[in-house]
């Protein structure tokens, strides 16, 4: 329990534990870890609850039935696990604007929220286009030696680097790290 109180574990240990979790997910739940499918299922549920007639006509929701399932449970689990861990080690703190964003883009709250939403829309659209996110496509794809994971890894890095330079311009270098 003393080990749980530490603010950070050795990064190599974190990686190995993450790999064991992936194995646990393969063994116990009979599917690779994945997070972005949960968001699609939540979207499907929202559309089914608010506009049931329209949701029936959308062909894409055939693969994402509006039922609370494993992936949504994983999301709930991640939030609760992270909250438990951060409260236990005394790291929990309500913040809105991150430190690095403040130095690059100013400390306006509204601006941060609007850009977070726009970035979120791009992430959601991109993850549905690529059929997975960093967890479900990159990690699960690479450890099963599929070309999909490697292609996604390289294109993610390209897009991220390009957008960082275009978006933060001269404030890309911030002279401090988190």
């Amino acid at each position: 329990m003393n080990y749980l109180k530490k603010k950070q574990w050795w990064l190599f240990t974190v990686g190995v534990l993450f790999a064991l979790l992936e194995l646990l997910s393969f063994y116990m739940s009979k599917r690779p870890l994945g997070a972005s499918r949960g968001y699609a299922v939540i979207g499907s549920i929202i559309e089914y609850v608010l506009f049931p007639e329209h949701a029936k006509t959308v062909a894409y929701w055939n693969a994402y039935e509006p039922v609370i399932e494993w992936t949504v449970a994983v999301l709930v689990g991640i939030v609760s696990g992270s909250m438990f861990s951060s409260v236990y080690s005394g790291e929990f703190k309500l913040t809105v604007v991150p430190q690095m964003w403040k130095t690059s883009k100013g400390s306006s709250v509204m601006r941060r929220l609007i850009w977070a939403f726009i970035g979120g829309v791009m992430i959601g659209f991109g993850s549905r286009l690529a059929m997975g996110c960093t967890l479900g496509m990159l990690i699960s794809g690479v450890i099963q030696l599929t070309p999909a994971g490697f292609i996604f890894m390289m294109s993610l890095w390209m897009g991220g680097m390009l957008m960082t330079v275009l978006f933060y311009r001269l404030r890309t270098v911030t002279l401090h790290r988190g």
Binding site: V14, I46, T71, I123, S127, I151, S155, L162
Partner: protein, 227 residues
């Protein structure tokens, strides 16, 4: 209003909470997600500064976690597959979709600073902008579903569809352990280099903090580097 509540009740299927094992069990997902949340938080991965610092080439925490993850994950999954405990669940390889989707995903990741799993972890840590990013991800998924329907998006992006394949099958290598051996060796060398460079960056940034403190005369707000 009544209809909305009825439909909300519809979305929960009580039969899914009976078992721990199986692809649809809720308990299994909760257990895996809870452990994953702890691991992500203890690696300090759920922070905007770390995700954004990766793309700014200032912080290689993600690479230092990801490299042993890929190494050990690959060895473990293929070992347990060979002795018949687990099966592989391969994702479909569609080259153009993954290329464009990855670029769009990376661009969004650079702006929002949270990928889907990291956003949930950051929300647990108390970062409220992560919740807005999560709402954005849900909205993006709905947007894709609507666009997928009306337009010919699927035909455009599924131009090169390879199906569910792995590298050993594509290159007709008779034993996948050759690939794994090469990958693990490369990863070990890469991990050594990136860890040394990351420690060097950490030392130089703490030096910058100290010099700034001396020059300005006042105490600069310095974040602790817990070890």
């Amino acid at each position: 209003m009544d209809g909305i509540l009825m439909r909300l009740k519809d979305t929960f299927d009580p039969s899914t909470i009976e078992a721990v094992r199986g692809p649809a069990s809720l308990y299994g997902g909760l257990i895996v997600g809870f452990l994953l949340g702890i691991v992500l938080q203890k690696g300090r991965l759920g922070k905007f500064d770390i995700v954004s610092g990766m793309f700014r080439m200032q912080d290689f925490t993600f690479w230092r976690v990801g490299t042993p993850l890929l190494m050990f994950g690959m060895v473990l999954i293929y070992f347990f597959k060979d002795i018949g405990v687990v099966e592989l669940y391969l994702p479909r390889t569609v080259v153009l979709a993954q290329l464009f989707g990855g670029v769009l995903f990376g661009a969004g990741l650079a702006i929002a600073g949270y990928c889907p799993a990291i956003a949930a972890c950051a929300l647990g840590e108390g970062a409220l902008d992560a919740f807005v990013a999560m709402a954005g991800i849900v909205f993006g998924s709905i947007l894709y579903a609507e666009m997928y329907d009306g337009t010919q998006l699927d035909k455009i992006v599924s131009f090169i569809d390879l199906g569910r394949v792995t590298f050993p099958e594509i290159f007709l290598v008779f034993n996948h352990w050759f690939f794994i051996m090469g990958f693990v060796f490369m990863c070990a060398m890469f991990l050594l280099g990136i860890s040394m460079y990351d420690e060097f960056l950490k030392a130089s940034f703490s030096l910058i903090d100290k010099v700034g403190e001396k020059l300005s005369g006042s105490k600069v707000e310095r974040r602790k580097q817990p070890r």
